[in-house]
Symmetry: C3
Subunit: 212 residues, 3 copies
């Protein structure tokens, strides 16, 4: 029953990320095949890298329905992209849902594959963020990890909470729910209040030697 | 006998893509090692990603001759790059051959590994296009998938025709030949007539909210 | 005993590359999570791609201490980045050590996995350079392989010497030491004397047809 809910959220994550890929495609005025390529790469990119690193079978090769869903969603967005653009704020919140969800499901898949806690956390972050990195590389956008706004940190928080609770013996449902909630809250607060972490700045009094 | 022909075309595809990588290297005025790196990455990149995703042994690890051929071709191009540049049109056609061929052989390798039809089509597109994506990323070129001209769609057409014919029970030779021909024809028409698919444009009357 | 030395140098390579990733993060004024992401990706990127291509278990999944070390180093650099920047020259030399070391250990891991000589050389180059390529892609820097200075060639020299000596029946310690020394010397000479290989230039008298 909870597994069904997790799977539903997992699907939601794939579809939401696919839509964000299509939004980049729309800004680059791509054709429908470009939409499908960028939408699919963004939707399944994170989970694909996770599976390859873990040595597990890639999830969409075993369940091609993910692939079909990404293509259908991308095609729909191509013909109706004025809708999600005018609802961009709504989309950012869906994206936050996807980020928090993938961080937890990515960490869980790694833990189930027998990975160490720190590895599971890394897999959560990779699953949550690689789709967006791929989208930005393929679409020649400024990489999301360079953004000023808290983003990767939200995924990190979600994965850490999930793995820590699991290690403390908490029931799986509680760990998933807590990790997801924390990740979503952190990202939501960053979106709502414009939160960002302190950034590196050259220390005063130190001469700057242009690196590299 | 037909397998020999397929292998010959496969080799041709690797070499042609290696040459396109070298052309980018020549525009960046790289040294001979840069030529070898960019030529090899472009020549074997698509097939490498296909094998990694399928969980198959990477083809050039089992048959290092592919690697050696890419290095030799890249070195030759370094010292004679004025030749392919002055024959750029001829090269575009060879590139079209490689694209159509890799789309079919990529889909076939996935089908032989037991993948679903839609997965086989995706693998065909990945095999045909990833080398070029890698070339453009490493060479800081504008990504090929952002180009206005039909390119990915030709690979998609080739893979769909091949997989559909195979599913309909057509002999393997016919499926390969048809997929390859369709892909080559679509790309050739795009090159000759400047074909492109309709691109996404903001619908009239809708205010543009800058996405992200 | 020698294995311990190799392992120590391997660790040094991971840490040095992690620091170079952090230097790029500091130039982009990232937050501490950005430092950890870029530092870790640069430190473990080359070895990760090597393991994925070889079909071996990814090294930091089996030994998460590598991951932890990258995160700790990145955090330290975030709070003290004025130190390595004012010692940038020292860092370039450490980077040269990492490059030469990874070229040899990458080739050795491939050889131990039963790969052909030419494949082992390729794996050495991939291990030594992919971390830097990843760093430059994620940090929106000009790719290192486009630099005028000898870099990839030093890795290539190290891997070739190591594989050639091994093939000639030299003891493993001698092959590792020689490959490492040659790679370091070539890179050091490039750094000290500004060595670069001849770059491709349009031949005189040939009209330039802008390639794609």
């Amino acid at each position: 029953m909870f597994d069904t809910a997790t799977m539903a959220l997992d699907w939601l994550g794939v579809i939401v990320f696919a839509i964000t890929g299509c939004l980049v495609a729309s800004r680059k005025q791509m054709d429908v095949v470009g939409f499908a390529l960028l939408g699919t790469a963004t939707g399944i990119g994170g989970g694909t890298l996770r599976d390859v690193l873990l040595g597990s079978p890639v999830f969409w090769i075993r369940e091609p329905a993910y692939l079909i869903a990404c293509v259908i969603v991308s095609t729909l967005v191509f013909f109706t992209a004025h809708i999600p653009q005018s609802r961009y704020k709504f989309l950012l919140w869906l994206d936050a849902v996807g980020l928090a969800l993938f961080a937890v499901t990515g960490a869980e898949k790694a833990a189930q594959a027998g990975a160490d806690g720190i590895v599971a956390i890394a897999m959560g972050v990779i699953t949550a963020t690689f789709g967006g990195i791929l989208r930005d590389l393929l679409g020649s956008e400024s990489p999301v990890i360079l953004s000023r706004e808290i983003y990767v940190s939200a995924a990190l928080a979600a994965a850490i909470v999930f793995v820590a609770l699991l290690a403390l013996g908490a029931p799986r449902e509680l760990a998933i729910g807590s990790g997801f909630s924390i990740g979503l809250l952190v990202r939501a607060a960053a979106l709502h209040f414009g939160w960002s972490l302190p950034r590196y700045r050259q220390r005063p009094g130190m001469p700057y030697h242009a690196a590299k």
